[in-house]
Subunit: 231 residues, 2 copies
C-alpha cells in the first residue's frame, strides 16, 4: 500500500491521451461500446507484441515496450493475456490462422497443375514473403525449440497441412503427366523449400543482396514442370 501517499487528486490531463486513440485513424471517437474498445485494444496489443517480438525475440522483449507501443498501460496487457508466454502463443495463433485459411482457399480447379501451383506461389509471395508475416515465420523457427506448444501448433496447422496439400498437387501433376519426377511426391518439402528460403533470405540478407523471390520461384517451377513455352 502507501501508493501515492499524497496527491489524492490525480493529474487530470494524463488520461486525455487515450481520447484520440493513440494509434492511427481507425475509430470515430464516439463509436465504441465497451466490447468494441476492448477488441480494439486487444488488437493493438497483438500488433505491438508482434512488432516487438519480431524485432527482439521473445526473451529480450519487454512488456513495458509492448504496452507503450500499443498505447496502453502494462496492467492492461494482463487483462487480455495470462502472461508473456501465453501472449506469445496466442499471438502466433491469431496471426497465422487467417493466413492459412486464406491460402488454403484455392477454389479454381481450372487450368493445369502448374497454374494451380503458380497461383499458390503468387499468393504466398504476396501474403508472406517480405511481409511482417514472413518475419513471424522466422520468429517461429527461432523460438520453436523453446516453445514446444508453438512448434506443435505450427506443425499441425501449417506444416502438415501444407505438406499434404503440396503432395496431392504433386500427385495430380504426376497423374496428368505434368511432372516427371515420381519421387517428388515423397518430399513435398522440395516444392516449398525455395519459398521458405526466400522468407528467411528477406529477413536476414535482403540488405546484403536483394532477392527477386518471384523470379526465383518461377525458375524453380520451370525445373519441376519443365520450361514454359509462353513467357
Amino acid at each position: 500500500m502507501a501508493r501515492k501517499p499524497t496527491k489524492a487528486a490525480t493529474p487530470p490531463a494524463v488520461r486525455a491521451n487515450a481520447k484520440d486513440s493513440a494509434h492511427a485513424g481507425n475509430d470515430a471517437v464516439p463509436a465504441s461500446s465497451r466490447a468494441t474498445r476492448a477488441a480494439e485494444r486487444r488488437a493493438a496489443i497483438v500488433d505491438a507484441a508482434m512488432e516487438e517480438f519480431i524485432a527482439r525475440g521473445f526473451a529480450a522483449t519487454r512488456l513495458d515496450d509492448i504496452a507503450k507501443r500499443a498505447g496502453v498501460a502494462k496492467g492492461t496487457i494482463y487483462l487480455h493475456f495470462k502472461d508473456k508466454e501465453s501472449m506469445f502463443e496466442e499471438l502466433v495463433r491469431t496471426v497465422i490462422v487467417p493466413v492459412v485459411t486464406r491460402l488454403t482457399a484455392l477454389p479454381p480447379p481450372a487450368g493445369s497443375v502448374r497454374d494451380l501451383v503458380e497461383t499458390f506461389a503468387s499468393n504466398f509471395l504476396k501474403e508472406v514473403i517480405g511481409t511482417r508475416r514472413g518475419d513471424l515465420v522466422r520468429l517461429i523457427v527461432a523460438e520453436g525449440p523453446r516453445f514446444p506448444s508453438v512448434a506443435d501448433f505450427y506443425y499441425r496447422e501449417v506444416v502438415s497441412r501444407g505438406i499434404a496439400a503440396m503432395r496431392s498437387l504433386i500427385e495430380l501433376g504426376i497423374a496428368r503427366g505434368e511432372i516427371r519426377q515420381k519421387n517428388l511426391a515423397h518430399y513435398p518439402q522440395i516444392l516449398v523449400a525455395p519459398a521458405m528460403i526466400a522468407v528467411i533470405w528477406q529477413s536476414l540478407f535482403a540488405r546484403h543482396a536483394p532477392l527477386d523471390a518471384q523470379d526465383m520461384l518461377r525458375v524453380h517451377l520451370d525445373l519441376i514442370f519443365g520450361e514454359r513455352s509462353t513467357t
Copy 2:
C-alpha cells in the same frame, strides 16, 4: 540486499571442490603448460556456450550456466571474452570457420558435376544436418536480426561463398550438358534450399515427422540432373 555484509573470512572448505576438476575426466592434471590449459578452458567455454545458446537462445542463456557446464567460475569467462555479446559473436566464428574450410575443400575434380555436388551434399549431411552445427545455423537465423555483425559475418563467410561455389558448379553443369535449366545459375539458392530446409526440419519437426534428408537430397538432385541410370 544485505548480502553477507560481515563475514570477512570466507569458509575455507568450499573452494576444495575445484581441485578434482568438476567435469568428467579430460586432463591429466599435470600435463599442461599454461597456454595449453588456457586453450582447453577456452574451448570448454565455447562448447558449453554453444550448448546453452542453442538450447535457450542468446537472451535467455545465463552466464552462470555456461560457467557451470564448462567447469569454470563465472569470472573466468571474462578472462577470455569481453562480454556476453562478443562471446556469442566469437563463438559463431570459432564454430563456423572450420566447417566452411572443411566443406570448401573439395579436391577431386574428377567425375561428373553431379558427383561433385553429391559429394558436397553428402559432406554437408554429415557435417551439418542433424548435428549441433545444424542447430547453430538455426540459431543464427534466429538471432541474426539482433546481431547484425553475426549476420554480416555469416553472409560474408558462408552464404556468399556458398552461393558463388554453387553457381560455378551449376555453370559447369550447364556447360557440360548435365543441367538443362539455364536459369538455375541465377538462383543457386534453389540448389541448396532443400538442404537448408532439412537443417531446420531436424531442429523443429524431427519428433513429429522424421525426415530422411539423404534421400530427399537425392530426389532433389534427380530433379536437377535428371534421374540416375544406376542407383
